[in-house]
Symmetry: C2
Subunit: 323 residues, 2 copies
């Protein structure tokens, strides 16, 4: 019976493999992904992992959706700062505000990340989390990407969405683990990726409980509580999941520690990096980029045999709107 | 067809209600719980809630297991401080350590919570999270409760474990939301309550990513990152779940804000407080207690019609080891 089941499973999984991940070209990357999934989910496999431990973590910016010419959340926050400016006449003399308003990238780089985040934090502090949620929905409905002239949520990667669905169909629990803030991703992550709010891990602004007009609300404070980037990613995973992932997906050095922790697990693991090498269909950047720099993690991927996906040659399609 | 389905459902659910929650006496508390669960989970009900939004949150200390004569985690941390003392000769002159070592409760109360937590934080800082996990397992295996002379994990409440299972059987997702630390609960919560690590929300000590002997690890820092108590509980829920619970269970004023947020939802909600009024089988305490004080939340329960469970008269059994 067991042998028969194994043969049947093999036949079914081979047939299934030919049909899964339709936007992926047949090749090493796809084959290794499919083999890994079969190895950990087939009950009689030596690498079998119970479903509860099949945890897969995905970076968001540059891994599940585009991140050029600037993180989309950064563009949203910029728009928020502009919208809030009339209420903050004191910003007129603020060097960060001046640099933001005049799109002075060099000036911003000189000022550093901290004062920029602080000003952005001020722009939406005092809002309840419900009001902030609505702000994001409203912005996503009208904002358009400068290159593609489409809503930002159209710029999610079709092959990665197929991968998410494929993993879930095989008993995996899929999480986002992003440097972007959890509040910014939750309003649209379920529709875009099938990932519910409780499986979105990210940076977090401080929020405070208070009674407002007799109702309990959470309001936003002008301060970050947690930065889920680089060495912060394994910390965010530990805090929110408390299990080591067996599969991790990223595209930049900000994902390195998350990939390392996943690769260091006791059993078989899958570590994959998306390489942006398609200037025509998307963007091409890696070692020299300010946004989504891929340098150390690339070297480590090569030395450790992690999968590096070429968007240009491994993916038939990048966005679902492509012909 | 719809009418037939409704009749069938009613029959089945009435039969089922007679069998669920066997350690609960038939009475108002049990009836209200069962009616709520049926109202939100029956597809044709006007109060129907999709399964993904059936979020139930449970305080731990005093709600799912006992908390007297002292929070069990506090006893664990005391034992840890004692064990670490030989490595910290400088503690000899530390007022907090002296008060802890001599069980000087009055002295400790005068010193306040902060220096006590700081000393406790020092006792296990530098450990990796894996080492800390093992410390908890080892302690739980040998520590015994002063009154019951049993392992602390025997002091979980049988009626609440039945309630957890009943909710899950009806499509609820059950979470712990505790002032205790997440690291202390995760190692045993799945076995005791059927709640997996990713559904345990609690206070959190700071942890840091580092490479140790070429392996990526997380080590504990002598500092709290988040206190999940009182107004912190709705913050913890927002950070980790991102949905409003429709059912909340607590026993003390430290749960008040979590209960308020749950009760303030747009649809039907269930809010329940466990009242410790059984000195014989467990402990009796409420408004005047230092641990698990129930005062403001009790008044609010009365004025808002929340369920208050009498452990003495609503529960046939408190612990599974009772005859």
């Amino acid at each position: 019976m067991r042998a028969l089941a194994a043969v049947l499973f093999f036949l079914v999984s081979t047939l299934a493999a030919a049909q899964v991940l339709p936007s992926w070209n047949d090749g090493e990357a796809k084959t290794r992904v499919v083999h890994f999934v079969q190895a950990v989910s087939f009950k009689n496999s030596k690498d079998y992992v119970p479903s509860a431990d099949r945890i897969a973590v995905f970076d968001n910016d540059g891994t599940l959706w585009a991140e050029q010419p600037m993180y989309f959340q950064f563009i949203f926050m910029l728009d928020q700062v502009k919208a809030a400016a009339p209420k903050h006449p004191e910003w007129k003399d603020n060097a960060v505000f001046q640099a933001l308003a005049s799109h002075d990238r060099e000036g911003l780089a000189k000022l550093g990340q901290k004062p920029v985040l602080e000003l952005m934090g001020q722009a939406n502090s005092g809002m309840t989390v419900g009001e902030y949620d609505k702000t994001i929905h409203d912005w996503l409905a009208k904002a358009r990407h400068p290159k593609f002239k489409r809503p930002y949520t159209d710029l999610t990667y079709q092959p990665m969405k197929e991968l998410l669905a494929y993993l879930r169909a095989n008993g995996f629990k899929t999480y986002i683990v992003s440097g972007g803030s959890v509040e910014f991703m939750r309003p649209w992550a379920e529709k875009a990726y099938g990932i519910p709010p409780e499986q979105v891990i990210g940076s977090q602004q401080e929020v405070k409980f208070e009674m407002k007009d007799g109702k309990p609300v959470l309001t936003r404070e002008p301060k970050f509580a947690f930065i889920d980037d680089g060495p912060g990613k394994p910390v965010g995973i530990y805090r929110s999941i408390g299990r080591r992932p067996i599969a991790a997906f990223g595209n930049s050095d900000g994902d390195l520690q998350m990939l390392q922790v996943t690769a260091a697990g006791p059993g078989r693991s899958l570590v994959l990096i998306v390489h942006h090498d398609d200037a025509e269909r998307e963007f091409a950047y890696d070692r020299e980029s300010h946004i989504g720099k891929l340098d150390k993690a690339w070297d480590e991927a090569k030395s450790k045999g992690w999968i590096v996906v070429s968007m240009k040659s491994d993916w038939k399609k990048i966005f679902s709107f492509e012909k």
